[in-house]
Symmetry: C2
Subunit: 215 residues, 2 copies
């Protein structure tokens, strides 16, 4: 029936709703604490409750929202403790990812990374904050993907949404200019071939980024 919509991509209705809400939460348009009422959302999307419930269930699983039984769903808050926890985990895993993939990097890979950085500069040019963020995630995600380890890749996808939310919400637009150059320096370290140095550089990079955004 009601397929009269102008929605973003996605196959099923529930997936469209899921993607839409997720994007809005990550972008901060639905700030923490916002109540998500099934009937309201169903009305807004002109659908029934079932697909909305399914979308909410997925987001609950992902930690994007908190569900209290018989009470409803609320966009989850991000505490600084939570961010610290995520970054501790990220440092462990990304350290491993960089250390192990570094020896396998070829000219092509460096070009790909350089491409991401150039796109980043363009995004900075047009003040596309969310775009910058996504490219930042692409850069780091590159190493997780190269691990040839599905479990690690899934973990990264999970961490990524949390990191993105955190950065999108806390972003004060005061580091974006440096970002591209910052990442170029990481490439330089990688090219020296010193695994320990590379791992350390990435961890330091994450540290700096975390603290800048946490005050």
């Amino acid at each position: 029936m009601s397929n009269s919509s102008y929605f973003p991509l996605g196959n099923s209705i529930s997936e469209q709703i899921y993607l839409t809400l997720k994007r809005e939460i990550i972008a901060g348009e639905l700030p923490p604490g916002t109540r998500l009422i099934v009937l309201d959302i169903a009305g807004k999307f002109q659908v029934s409750q079932a697909p909305v419930r399914e979308a909410l269930e997925r987001m609950k699983q992902e930690g994007l929202i908190n569900g209290i039984p018989n009470k409803g769903s609320v966009v989850s808050n991000i505490t600084s403790k939570e961010i610290r926890d995520i970054f501790v985990l990220r440092e462990i895993i990304e350290g491993y990812a960089v250390r192990t993939t570094m020896p396998t990097l070829l000219e092509d890979d460096y070009e790909q990374l350089e491409m991401i950085i150039r796109s980043m500069e363009e995004a900075v040019g047009r003040n596309d904050t969310l775009g910058i963020l996504e490219l930042d995630m692409d850069f780091h995600g590159f190493f997780y993907k190269r691990c040839d380890n599905q479990a690690i890749l899934e973990l990264w996808n999970h961490m990524r949404t949390k990191v993105m939310r955190f950065m999108a919400i806390s972003n004060r637009h005061h580091t974006t200019d440096l970002l591209a150059e910052w990442h170029r320096r990481l490439i330089t370290v990688l090219q020296t071939g010193d695994g320990d140095a590379a791992e350390e550089a990435f961890i330091e990079h994450m540290h700096a980024y975390k603290f800048i955004h946490m005050d």
Copy 2:
């Protein structure tokens, strides 16, 4: 309505279904490849489709089942590659967990660990395979819990179901006798206070366990 049931714990109907199916999958009663048909399950539990769908959605998110759009759900298979990936990740994280929590362990903690091992011996005595597995997970989970890091704890819970499935399915009952003693040896190493040695011992332990179960 239909609350005439004899089900395990859990608040909502959907949660009861979720817990029941999850246990059956982990225990191998629902082997990989088993089709999970919404109406069949709803009929078996004497409920409507909605709570079944919600339970399936959660399991899909967890990787316990694979869902093909408009086609249905199937209990997911576990490839040896997947197991290898999980164990690589587990070694990284558990190594960290053991190394960092070791210096904080007190007499009480060692007693708690010893208690788990004694329960394990009892479970071995009554051939309670699933019980042994759960206690094994409790032992290792102890260190994840002590990290004071929600992200790491959640990751462990996620890995745990996969590890348990793998072990339950591939279990040939030929190592259970050694298990308790094996873990006692880990405690001994912990008590020496040598972090590197402890981390190494745990990783070696996981290696051995993995290979025994993988042929």
